[in-house]
Symmetry: none
Subunit: 229 residues, 2 copies
DNA sequence: GCGAATCCTCACCCCGTTCTCAGCAACCTC
DNA sequence: GAGGTTGCTGAGAACGGGGTGAGGATTCGC
């Protein structure tokens, strides 16, 4: 790919998790490398200077905070996103003091991670334009976390918001239910894909889309959001 | 073919299935190798570095997930498509999370598999252009899962869509009814080929092609789709 | 802590889809 | 043109995908 492709390093001692994240980020168009060990990660960061690092906090030998501190000590300003278990959330303040830029608690959804990464990269590049999604007369404001239909605000729950955002990001493209679950729900969600139907139903009601002309069902395939037609 | 011919490894302990898949993929122009054993597959992957791996999940000794994990552990980023039984569908997203890039539940249709493979290879090459098929005034948009005839949208059921896509992919080439059944229907379909006639009839009606000038019948041989000359 | 919002499962119902079959039309051969 | 073969299409039965309401569990906010 061209030189605008961001290079991301994912560091997590749970290799399965690192692989999952890497796979999703590659799908999103990034060039991804994984590491399962803090020391190796440090070496890679210094040698390859990635554009962003996703860093697990709890790792044996040398934890994420320590890795970050050492990066900063070397004067590297690469953006860092911490991954941490919910129980360790208290440590996060420590994390920020160590020079982290953002964090996510496990389990997270891949959409969430992608968003944080985008935001950090935008900031690093200095091209920090407002991320607004528009499809037809539906407007989704990322930063304000607000949704409007026909200039009237619609109140959505967190999950409803993530689902709508995902569909709008992929406007015009049919997304299958497993795909949706994999991206919108937390990665350890083990329920069936029926949950998607329920939330599409919620969204249609709140968005005044009872006939499904906005969020369209493609029977046997999935869902799309389309400008109108 | 030239050096752009992708090399694919198919791994499945049901050799009959592996052979069937291999045969279809060779017909589609790929260079295919098969393996029925996870360990042998690992060896092959490391030595020959295929462009893509089709990997059955349930295999004795070492299952597909484990193979994938080991591939990733060695730092290989070859795209992987998992094949899995419908009953194991819960494991599927797990599989995705093990670093697999896509998955299909058995039984699948060969067309479906071919499509996924194309999509993954496109992604790996970074040339991710919109896949659109055009024959005469019929347009089929893969991503949006939409079909237009003469700029008017036509609503097709899943099977109708797959059939039309297959014919359009093979435009100008007469496809026999058994060939069509083998590619468009799931591979364990055991009905007769009369089903093709029924669905061609559906398509002609929906595509406003009552006289069969678009989808042409070649008596005793099969069907072709041609730019209505 | 308490009430409210949210999340998720489940079950029921509707209807689109799939597939078979039978009758008929088109075509070919002799 | 007769008879056989092949293809077309309407009817209808069985199936299953999808919508939605109810309700229980959980989390959130104050």
């Amino acid at each position: 790919m061209d030189d605008t492709t961001a290079r991301i390093l994912v560091v997590d001692d749970e290799e399965a998790l690192a692989d999952m994240v890497a796979s999703a980020l590659r799908f999103a168009g990034y060039a991804v490398t994984t590491e399962s060990n803090g020391f190796d990660a440090l070496r890679i960061i210094k040698n390859r200077l990635p554009d962003l690092v996703v860093l697990d906090v709890s790792m044996p030998e040398i934890d994420g905070f320590e890795v970050c501190r050492r990066i900063r000590r070397d004067g590297l300003q690469v953006p860092v996103i911490f991954l941490t278990a919910r129980d360790d959330i208290d440590d996060l303040r420590t994390g920020f003091k160590q020079g982290g830029d953002d964090y996510l608690t496990k389990p997270f959804s891949l959409e969430e991670l992608g968003l944080r990464i985008e935001a950090l990269l935008r900031r690093a590049r200095g091209t920090d334009e407002t991320p607004r999604l528009v499809v037809g007369d539906v407007l989704l404001d990322e930063r304000a976390h607000q949704v409007f239909r026909d200039d009237k605000e619609v109140t959505l729950s967190p999950t409803e918001f993530r689902l709508l955002r995902f569909l709008m990001l992929n406007r015009g493209r049919v997304m299958s239910k497993p795909q949706i679950v994999d991206h919108v729900w937390e990665y350890d969600f083990d329920g069936n894909t029926g949950i998607v139907e329920t939330y599409v139903s919620y969204l249609r009601r709140k968005l005044d889309d009872a006939d499904g002309s906005l969020i369209q069902t493609v029977r046997g395939v999935g869902y799309v959001i389309r400008p109108s037609s």
